[in-house]
Amino acid sequence: MTGRGTAVRLALLAAPVAFLAVFFLYPVATIVGEGLRDGGAWQLGRAGEVLRDGDTADVLWFTVWQAAASTVLTLAVGLPAAWAFARLRFPGRKVLHAAVTVPFVLPTVVTGAAFLAVVGRGGLLDDWWGVRLDNTVWAILLAHASLNFAVVVRIVGGLWSQLDPGQAEAARMLGATRRAAWLRVTLPALMPAVASAAVMVFLFTFTSFGVVQILGGPRNGTLEVEIYRQTAQLLDLPTAAVLTLLQFALVAVLLGAQALLTRRTETALSLVDPATNARRPRGAAEHAALAAVLTVIALLLVLPLAVLLERSLSVPGGGHGLANYRSLFSDDGGTFVAAPWQAVETSLRYAAIATLIAVVIGGLAATALARRGGGRTLRGFDALLMLPLGTSAVTVGFGFLVTLDEPPLDLRSSWTLVPLAQALVGVPFVVRVLLPVLRAVDDRLRQAAAVLGASPARVWREVDLPLVRRAVLVAAGFAFAVSLGEFGATVFIARADNPTLPVAVARLLSRPGALNYGQAMALSAVLMLVCTLTLLALERIRPAGRTP
């Protein structure tokens, strides 16, 4: 079994390894190498200079602590919501579940603006209570919590909804208090998913760019901003290379810590059909908890989005109407910098392809990683898959430029590079969502199927797939959302065709004129709608026929 297991694992890993090597490791290693080498000799002295620089230390410290604080805050608001979505049935649950992903998808320049309208000068908080949070860390943390709310809700909620409540009930029958049962039974079972979500949120906020710039003001710079500046503006590749390596080192430390944290807790769990798991809230405590969750969602997610919608509906010169939306249709030559409906089409097409790639690559990787045993190499690969999340888009984009420039891989100006770059960010999500669920599938269930005559591939299709189908859909939703909203890598890849929605929005916002602004808001609202509808559609997909 050992020999065979290894062979299967290698076969499964071939595609993910190749994908990661060609589209991530090679480009990034090359651009970093170019920075660290001057005329063939390694220039390591530069590394010392950059690292000793006091500014670097400041930037590093701010980057890490705002990411850590954002992660804690996101978990604090996200976990109760994950519980509510997984366990409770309430009106509007499905729509809301899809809607909380919207901030994650919107271009940060739009979310940032929406947040500014709530917490900034003249914003709602200012109007009501005279509170202003812009240019403070609080604005950054709140926006990060809003943006990454969906990460916690989806990753943790995905597993929670399939967790057998019998276990916690059993603990309570054994005399455990509700709290103790949660701490001793439910939380350990959820721990792999919680750790996954925490890592994802940390990495996202660690490489946060737009939000920090817009809400934090120019004084609060992160490593990501600095790498962007050094690479894209100053072309100081040596400094950028050192900072990128620093970024890698931090990500490695983080992933190591996560591995330590979860290795002991990841075990086979008893999974049930999520549909049977949710019920109406019972008792005052549950109603209160649900109310709290909904309030947080209303303030943190719905309010900024509502502001956005309001702006998309406001007409130049006052009043409200559909003028901005109507203008999206009109194509009167010069006044529109990017054809909006083509942007929708382009975005959807890229997102669909990126999702396909991410689900296939991530699915293969997760299947291989979920097989028992594996040892250090495999855990290393697991960590490696996360690395793109913790890497600057500009590093990847410039890396593509200097590596994928020779046939047969001259993809620099090929449209395929965009979905490929987006998939790079989607794959970690797919792996993070699938892995806990796949590992929770009892191996003996697979053996039962094998003994009944199912080949390994058939076992995967008949046992694993139905059990992880929900997780696959969650993962696909994520990959889709990630690619739909992806801006960083897209903007650094030279594209010949129509811009994606986020790029179109950015172009509109980069010009004066109320029409441009209104159209940007309307287009963002369209992006919201596209995202919500797609996620709703994905969640509607039910396991096909249960008949023999």
């Binding site: 059909d273 003994v451 390994p456 008949e462 139905p466 249960r546 023999p548």
Partner: protein, 355 residues
């Protein structure tokens, strides 16, 4: 008959867990076991004795380190689990949670590309057989433990495996259901002519179900034989103790009498003098209320009702006897707890254990 090879032939099978570089413990040490067609064999042993590993090795779910597994004379080395044509019913059923009862039972038939109509017919038939007629559309989550067991059984029977293996088939059921199912199963296997290799830790279950029992200890076979043989003549003290006998001791035999902690016990005629291990069946311990003044005396510490008789736990208190002793006596004449009794022994129920 002798010309056809046994349906299952396990030869010198050794299974070691752990990786090649860091071998862990050895679960099976050179096991030899044959199961003839239509035979029902029960493997009995305490947990950790390797009995489940044996089933997994036969099923192809665990890699065999040394030795061969032959099915109908064919070496199964390199044959993956799904091509071995054996059935395995897991200890905790492992029903597919996302499929209903019918879907679970039909699974193996689908894997074997049985036409749909035929499948539906067989599923209905099997549900009748296991006493759950018409349960096709029920969700497995809504089934009781006994019902799940029946579905699991029907599922493993459905593809008509040449060898059906059962891992603790009645493990989680209550006594009553268990006793009833044992009888049903035995009848069922006989009717279907199924060859069965079952694993259990419950001796009563094994003895009721099996044509032959195999007792395992620490990855080795301790004894094999018909239930009556094993029951009558446990191969050693371990087997005797495992079968539930407590009156096992080492004693010096001289002139047809053994010097035991419970006093002198008569041994079957022809027992050579010397040191032996003895088993005194509870039925060989006779208890008399206010019996003879001489001989061992004891106090009844506990009574367990066993249907037609009572099992007494005695504490020897005098007459050259000490320690605990188990005795079976008829319901009517069973002394109460705390009663002082005289103890006597029946040589016919005393077994001299080999080795």
């Amino acid at each position: 008959m002798t010309a056809t090879p046994p349906l299952l032939d396990v030869r010198g099978v050794t299974v070691t867990y752990g990786s090649r570089t860091a071998p862990g413990h050895t679960a099976l040490h050179g096991i030899d076991l044959a199961v003839a067609e239509h035979e029902t064999v029960c493997v009995l042993g305490p947990s950790g004795s390797g009995k489940s590993t044996l089933l997994r090795a036969v099923a192809g779910l665990t890699e065999v380190g040394a030795g061969t597994v032959l099915l109908a004379g064919r070496d199964q080395a390199g044959v993956p689990a799904h091509r071995r044509g054996v059935g395995l019913m897991f200890q905790d059923h492992q029903l597919f949670p996302q499929r209903d009862v019918g879907g679970n039972i039909a699974f193996g038939l689908r894997m074997h590309k049985i036409p749909r109509q035929e499948t539906e017919r067989r599923v209905a038939e099997l549900l009748d057989l296991v006493g759950l007629p018409g349960a096709q559309r029920r969700a497995v989550g809504s089934l009781s433990g006994g019902e799940q067991q029946r579905v699991a059984l029907a599922r493993s029977l459905a593809p008509r495996p040449r060898l059906l293996m059962l891992d603790e088939p009645l493990g989680q059921l209550d006594r009553d259901l268990r006793d009833r199912l044992v009888v049903e199963l035995r009848q069922l296997f006989r009717d279907l002519g199924t060859t069965v290799l079952a694993v259990t830790h419950d001796q009563a279950e094994a003895f009721a179900l099996a044509d032959r029992v195999v007792i395992m200890r620490d990855g080795r076979i301790a004894q094999t034989g018909s239930p009556v043989e094993v029951w009558r003549r446990p191969a050693d003290a371990f087997v005797a103790r495992f079968l539930g006998f407590r009156n096992v001791t080492e004693a010096d035999v001289t002139d047809g009498g053994a010097a035991t902690p419970w006093g002198t016990v008569p041994v079957p005629p022809g027992t050579p003098d010397g040191r032996h291990r003895l088993l005194i069946r509870p039925s060989g311990v006779r208890v008399g209320v206010g019996g003879p003044e001489e001989g061992p005396r004891a106090v009844v510490r506990a009574r367990t009702f066993r249907g037609d008789h009572v099992l007494l736990l005695l504490e020897c208190v005098g007459g050259g006897a000490r320690g605990e002793l188990e005795a079976a006596c008829p319901l009517r004449s069973a002394p109460g707890e705390g009663a002082a009794v005289g103890v006597g022994f029946d040589a016919a129920e005393v077994v001299v254990l080999p080795g």
